[in-house]
Symmetry: C3
Subunit: 469 residues, 3 copies
Amino acid sequence: MGALIADDLLFPAQAGPRGIARDLYAGVRNLPIVSPHGHTDPRWYALDQPFPDPAQLLVVPDHYIFRMLFSQGVRLEELGVPALDGSPVETDGRAIWRRFAEHYHLFRGTPTRIWLDYTFQNLFGLEMPLSARTADAYYDRIAALLATDSYRPRALFKRFNIEVIATTEGALDDLKWHRVIRESGWDGRVVTAYRPDAVVDPDFEGFAQNLDRLGEITGCDTGSWSGYLDAHRSRRAYFREFGATSSDHGHATAQTANLSTTEAEALFGRIRMGRADEGERRLFRAQMLTEMARMSLDDGLVLQIHPGSWRNHSPLMMARFGRDKGFDIPTRTDYVAALKPLLDAFGTRADLSIIVFTLDETSYARELAPLAGVYPALKLGAAWWFHDSPEGMRRFREMTTETAGFYNTVGFNDDTRAFPSIPARHDVARRVDCAFLAHLVSEHRLREDEAHELAQELAYTLAKKAYRL
Amino acid sequence: MGALIADDLLFPAQAGPRGIARDLYAGVRNLPIVSPHGHTDPRWYALDQPFPDPAQLLVVPDHYIFRMLFSQGVRLEELGVPALDGSPVETDGRAIWRRFAEHYHLFRGTPTRIWLDYTFQNLFGLEMPLSARTADAYYDRIAALLATDSYRPRALFKRFNIEVIATTEGALDDLKWHRVIRESGWDGRVVTAYRPDAVVDPDFEGFAQNLDRLGEITGCDTGSWSGYLDAHRSRRAYFREFGATSSDHGHATAQTANLSTTEAEALFGRIRMGRADEGERRLFRAQMLTEMARMSLDDGLVLQIHPGSWRNHSPLMMARFGRDKGFDIPTRTDYVAALKPLLDAFGTRADLSIIVFTLDETSYARELAPLAGVYPALKLGAAWWFHDSPEGMRRFREMTTETAGFYNTVGFNDDTRAFPSIPARHDVARRVDCAFLAHLVSEHRLREDEAHELAQELAYTLAKKAYRL
Amino acid sequence: MGALIADDLLFPAQAGPRGIARDLYAGVRNLPIVSPHGHTDPRWYALDQPFPDPAQLLVVPDHYIFRMLFSQGVRLEELGVPALDGSPVETDGRAIWRRFAEHYHLFRGTPTRIWLDYTFQNLFGLEMPLSARTADAYYDRIAALLATDSYRPRALFKRFNIEVIATTEGALDDLKWHRVIRESGWDGRVVTAYRPDAVVDPDFEGFAQNLDRLGEITGCDTGSWSGYLDAHRSRRAYFREFGATSSDHGHATAQTANLSTTEAEALFGRIRMGRADEGERRLFRAQMLTEMARMSLDDGLVLQIHPGSWRNHSPLMMARFGRDKGFDIPTRTDYVAALKPLLDAFGTRADLSIIVFTLDETSYARELAPLAGVYPALKLGAAWWFHDSPEGMRRFREMTTETAGFYNTVGFNDDTRAFPSIPARHDVARRVDCAFLAHLVSEHRLREDEAHELAQELAYTLAKKAYRL
């Protein structure tokens, strides 16, 4: 490798374990990327148009980047983040890029720094560190490359060696771009995933209208509980036509419920009329996780639960810039009581696959590993979001492996909308896992042949198996 | 050592610290085993009959093993775990063993894998890894050895170099097997421990009858608060006759209370009549921890508190297979408020010894080390259950030592009913502690002569002292 | 260095990273000490009188020391800790010192041991380990040196290379000693900090009288909400005259509130009349954090929040010995909900500086790093109190850096009243940070030139900047 990313990035400094890590990594570094959960835009693959300028591609949409700059006094307007009221923000890509470059030292010690350096070097052939001094050279080179055909989305998809990538679409999405991809005859495998938050969470903006719209799309009576469930079934089937193998649920907590049909009908009635109080709205979300699991038993979709984020923590920033502006903050999350109703119903079913993520690392050793280490329906999702980082992944392995083993985990997913960073993210995960395995081998807790097998599983096989891809 | 367990198992990979760890370990590896808390069956030592087949000895009773296999889709019936309704389960030891062997890779990275490999190698002289291919050879060899006299319980007790082992018996137990052991003239030291959950926890199955029975056994009036307390005193004295130096309490929380006698009498009245609500039942358990501490001040029994396990999380599995089937899940546990009533009463007494365990590692640095680092009555129990593992023990030391030191901890206990694994468990603990001490020495935080002293304390002396053995 | 403190103390054992750590440390070890938060007594610097005997200087006032000895059965009376009722305690310094020396092994593995050995060696030129055997030699040498002029406070201040030190005074303090220091013409920079707990917390002893006194001192009407706020403004201005750049708040939780003026007035009315219930008293404390932040926007004081300590956990010890006797125990602490009212009001202001500390390490990665990584007003205080230790600091870096970076942290502060330990504490922090940076460099996560820059920032620059010193 070059000057920004060392060959031994993230490997142990000691010769012994480092040698083992290198060997393990050599066996997995070129494996295809399986990206079973993420947020890239299917439109990119559908239209295959060039990406915009470097700032619009790499800075403006990346909440990891602008939140850090904001924390140090850079206003989002200066970074080109659009305001909801349309008031003017910076539009000059080069100006945004320079601002970013001047502050690049802020990312020291963060995964963003690694992802970016990896991308700079491996995708854009850059070798000198990014700084105020090199900002323009960076900008020019990246801009020039982005204008070439080999940097269009489909070409990058191939260059990145992506075997399959999942996007995430809302329940009301018509999956138009997925249709375009499919009809284009392109052989890249892009699948969708069913994310019904807007029609499951009564607190979601426009929930009532969303349910009306769900009824129109599906021809089901979303005024009744059974019709509403049918509408979900219908959409899930539609999503499965476009390759979906999973649903995804971003609730504030992991709370589940298992009401009787009569209770659920009555609850839905109050929800539908907009008369439900906070407890009932919470109960409804809880019940819907269980309903989704029930449907999964029929249609085979893998159920993903991503709880524990306090979305849009700052009302000021929400009002001015809207969602997803770096103000989602993790909170303490319980799983043992919360998941019990769902687990009581279906937890012992080996034909169900529920993948649970957490932003609360205290749950790894105390709750999630013990749960996933016994319930066949439950698997542990990869270290997520703020924990998708070298230390975060290391802690994940250290705190889950001894109780849940490796085989109740599901490999890595990048969970990103930052397309160019995908190879970097998978590479970091592979390196960290190889380093962890090398550590076990060097302490004689694992044989080297086993470590090679596991490196393969963690980098590739488990994700395919767990997500049924 | 042989092919399964390396000489340097769990030691640091670097030459410097590894050398120190080896030296420290050389000084403690052959120390006698002090096992102050565990669940082996005194009947084994009493009757000294041969153990059953390999599967019945090593697989069927071990919840670490069958919970992992169950999590990956193996049914407990296939593993010979008896169903409560007597419906048929696998009884062929060899078939069970093969199933286990086929899934042995699931244990990669877990302590179970180390314990088993250690046992395979050191107890049964096996050297090739267990797998589907080697399953029969394993089975045959282990079965053959178990049939020999030198693999009977008492012979193993001596071979394991056990100086003293504690079993755990319920308050109503007649300690018959302990009596047989004592009367047999055998010189192995097996002591009991007083576990009164069944007569202390109003939610325990058959609580009311248990109290009647407690009255019969002791001749005390368990219809009155003072008679009930006398009955405890009587049983504690009886247990002490059979070597007990500790009581043990497995409450769901660490809650304690310190009611006035009048309040306690009234509460007991409601409890005894079965009229107590949930809060009162909780309060009763809390009060009883304080009562036990008060009795400890008289009779010298060490008080162990093992809180924070949500027992039998799956009602389905509980109904079909009963307790202790791998469905006990840790929960968040508070100590600072919970223990306060007890500590207010007796926490500053240096003649009292309360040993607290946790399944919630977040309490180590935040609560338990600060509490044990100042209250003379309080000591920290070893890393427990899911945390009885290399990473778990390392975290325990890293998160408690700086605030509580080493001398407010009580050494290792194996807490196991898996008799053959006892040497393995103590060996792992000794190795991990030696590795931790070597780390401190290599960073010049401790002198080597101090580390040798501490290795001895952690492996042997502290347990004897803390448990008054 | 000598026999007690190795040159490579706390550096990695491996040659590669150790070499990097040494280089980094060489660049920062002699930087001046910036001590922006602590509890040394300004009277020392004002009067410059010799310190008392070794025990009175090093043992009797140090809660880290006497809590550990107490936990192992040594009574505080034997250590010379004065009882509130004036009943006799040990007064013979040598006897106290011997008792301490006999128990010095208890501190193995603790930061106290490092601080003391560092002080013994570097301040007092001692080289043999402290023990019962060497106790008298230690005592004699330290006593002799303390009697010399070069061991008086101001001489030590210079010897310690302190550029600036902050003390902490209550809102009602007349800052007499600070005045004496200023008027003495001495060039040592000693500043105060505004700690208004006694006039902000309705549960503080003598709260009502404290408010009366606050009114007298300031000439403001502390019977009214606006007068009360004016009184704070007046005191803050007074403290700023004596160099204060920060206020400090030791609330039990991090709860904040943002009431309307009308609500706040009404609440203050009930508080002032002593009629407020517990919830209202809590709300008042919460509101006052927001008021202090509002004032900070005007006068530039940095706002420090030190929540999460359950003060005086043992009523028995509180009654006999009073506050600060080692019985302050950390508790679970929430920040995401608690700080929201304050952050909603001022969190996005880049001209405000709020420094948050925690005793609950679970909040590092889950709450504090994500919050500080986006809100410009928020910075992370150093690993605090029980976590001011090698492992504690390492965990702080590992759990905050990837999300908040280094630049949202504020460097080290010693937070101590143990004046002789100040160089030791800063040295430990510098070493641990250099070791952490060396680890990043050796895994190629950071370039060496960046690590040198960061070592400087962490040891010196960030503290000056964050505290506006």
